[in-house]
Symmetry: C2
């Protein structure tokens, strides 16, 4: 019974790690499609989103099976529930990459972003991909310290996001209201993606160790 | 065993309904603080958000206890998991109301919104509150038809949200970039709130009936 539980939990963790990789690839391509007005790449992100949704459904089914067949309690139970929450966040990260790709498609062949703010999005895109890859590493390595490093990347993301507002709101903004609106929404998509990645990593640590970083498991 | 399960599930449903009411009140007050530049009301929404977070933690603990002590399977298991997801969406609805209240506080004593778009937000605020109250009704009445009525209110919300963009992007927009950015983000908060309310109602139908509206339970 215990052995079957751990084999199944291992499979679930592998699938969550794979979802991290899918979410990272989606945001990497979405960012490229945004910055290089690459329509085929945007279309690919849009059509591939279904695969992330399907992966989430598979993770939930695995989690249901674990709960139904093994009836875990205590930390084991919380671990499976953490996996269910992580899968939900990962699906949402895929949706946010999808929103970026749709913005690129909507304005094609025009660029969505004024050249002035493009470098911020290049950087936020890199941070987003790094965050998703770090979450993937956490699940493979069970490295609690690696989970903490996500906070650093997410803080950088938040700093850029805040700075972006000062650029948009500055009286020297030359690009009009429509570009300001697009920039605002896109900035928010990256910032939310980062938040979800941090949440996934924290839950992954729980899946790997039975403890949430920074908390006693009793507090959860 | 079965009776204890149903008593506990009933308590969990009551707590979720109470969370719906809290999320509705939060958005009602946040909207008033936004439209009437009412700082004390904004502060109240901001400080009350902790109560919604606490209620979510209580719902999760109840769900954990149900799973650990009753080890439900099949539909019963999916019902408890639906409740966990609903609690997460309700906490997020509280966060979105909090964002609205923070915007009102940030610009106080100036209004955040140009008078031209205020009526759209008055309407979106009403729809948001109606959606949360309808979700609350669904859990009390177990009325599957009532859950469908949320789709109508949410479609109205989406229509207003779309129209808002045409107003902001119009060449006659007189209110500058900063107001456009604020209006864009606030519009998104209401639209996301509506999406979460619909998701909650659908999951509430599941908690009440074991079936998701519009799906066979096999598809879930």
């Amino acid at each position: 019974m215990r052995e079957a539980y751990h084999v199944e939990l291992e499979r679930l963790a592998d699938n969550l790690a794979e979802m991290c990789g899918m979410a990272a690839t989606a945001m990497e391509r979405a960012t490229t499609s945004l910055l290089e007005t690459n329509l085929p790449l945007a279309e690919q992100v849009i059509s591939d989103d279904q695969k992330i949704d399907d992966a989430r459904a598979r993770c939930e089914e695995q989690a249901y099976a674990l709960l139904a067949l093994q009836a875990p309690v205590a930390t084991d139970l919380r671990t499976v529930l953490a996996a269910i929450h992580a899968a939900e966040s990962l699906e949402r990260m895929g949706d946010l990459a999808l929103h970026v790709a749709r913005a690129a498609r909507r304005r094609h062949p025009e660029p969505v972003l004024p050249a002035e703010v493009a470098p911020y999005f290049a950087e936020m895109g890199k941070l987003a991909v790094r965050l998703a890859r770090q979450a993937e590493d956490v699940i493979h390595t069970r490295d609690v310290e690696a989970a903490r490093s996500l906070d650093i990347a997410d803080d950088e993301m938040d700093d850029i996001h805040r700075h972006l507002f000062t650029v948009i709101m500055d009286k020297n903004w030359q690009h009009g209201v429509a570009a300001a609106v697009d920039t605002t929404l896109l900035g928010r998509f990256y910032e939310r993606y980062g938040d979800h990645a941090v949440s996934v990593a924290n839950r992954m640590v729980f899946v790997a160790t039975g403890k949430m970083p920074g908390y006693n498991s009793d507090e959860l």
